[in-house]
């Protein structure tokens, strides 16, 4: 393994919260976020040999997004579509232990969940994962001009959803 490359345990310990946050914003609920993180860590562990030191969190964000997109393509479903099976999933069943459950956070997550995948994914990668448009284009496999357009439209949709919910500012 190249010098300066952390072990996968160190990645989980030092960047697990970031990984979980991206997974949660993509998946829209804790249960699916946990599955995403589990699969992502497995791929991280297996892919460390090929990792070249650089933006570690960018690399992790691309992996968790790829896992998410693989599942979306496979299941052709959106997170909100998975809810009816279990009424208990309408809200996260086990609120995070030490997250301050602000109304704003809940409203934003709800609004994000209403966005179609094509818009939610680039917005999350930009505003949660802090990836560049070029990295987002690479990850999602769409042209950079499309990424730009989807981020903009996604943010407008998000703002409209929040305004409809009575949220007008941070």
């Amino acid at each position: 393994m190249a010098e300066g490359v952390p072990t996968w345990e160190e990645i989980a310990r030092d960047h697990g919260r970031f990984l979980y946050s991206v997974a949660y914003r993509l998946a829209g609920n804790d249960d699916d976020a946990q599955d995403l993180v589990q699969e992502s860590l497995l791929r991280i562990r297996r892919g460390l040999e090929r990792y070249e030191p650089g933006s570690l969190e960018g690399w992790m964000a691309r992996i968790v997004t790829n896992v998410f997109l693989d599942e979306v393509r496979r299941k052709k479903r959106r997170p909100v579509d998975a809810l009816p099976d279990d009424p208990g999933r309408v809200l996260p069943p086990s609120p995070a232990a030490d997250e301050v459950q602000t109304g704003l956070s809940d409203e934003i997550q709800r609004a994000l969940g209403e966005l179609p995948d094509d818009f939610r994914v680039p917005v999350v990668l930009c505003d949660v994962s802090d990836l560049s448009y070029e990295q987002i284009a690479e990850t999602t496999g769409v042209p950079i001009g499309t990424v730009r357009s989807r981020i903009h439209r996604g943010r407008r949709m998000l703002r409209a959803q929040l305004a409809a919910a009575g949220v007008t500012g941070p």
Partner: protein
């Protein structure tokens, strides 16, 4: 209106906020912003969404998640895997939830099987067949039949990962 900027797309506004424009594009956007209240309003709109999303706190996993998932990853990688399998999802996000995280459920089931074996089998050597070994070996598989993760064997949590 027939000004020089009329063909600019407003989606440049988000790219403007994100620092993703060239110097020329940025100058064009700023010129358009100076003359168009609609563009300024749309800039405020996307800036608000961007600010709110970036200000949301990171999400913490539920208590106990990391210990279980780290043990699960180790156990899953203990089984032989060929190169092609690494590209395929190990877990699936199907609509039917079977509890908090399949690997966690499996890891908990395995741990419970170990505890049960300790409690109900007074002496492994005095019993034939070796009930404790059978329980430990098959406890995880029984919890999630047909799932590739069902082959997980009980592995104790890694020390130092409780967050």
């Amino acid at each position: 209106m027939t000004d020089a900027h009329e063909f600019l797309a407003t989606d440049m506004l988000s790219a403007y906020l994100d620092g993703e424009l060239t110097d020329t594009e940025r100058a064009e956007v700023e010129a358009r912003l100076a003359e168009s209240p609609e563009w300024r309003a749309e800039l405020d709109e996307v800036r608000g969404a961007r600010t709110m999303l970036r200000s949301v706190a990171q999400r913490d996993a539920p208590e106990g998640f990391w210990d279980a998932v780290l043990a699960g990853v180790v156990a899953a990688d203990d089984s032989p895997v060929d190169a092609e399998e690494t590209a395929a999802p190990v877990v699936s996000l199907d609509g039917k939830r079977r509890g908090p995280g399949r690997w966690i459920a499996t890891a908990f089931a395995a741990a419970a099987a170990v505890a049960l074996a300790v409690i109900i089998v007074p002496s492994r050597d005095s019993v034939r067949p070796d009930v404790a070994a059978v329980v430990v070996q098959h406890g995880a598989q029984g919890s999630d039949h047909g799932d590739p993760i069902g082959t997980i064997t009980p592995v104790g949590p890694l020390a130092g990962f409780r967050r």
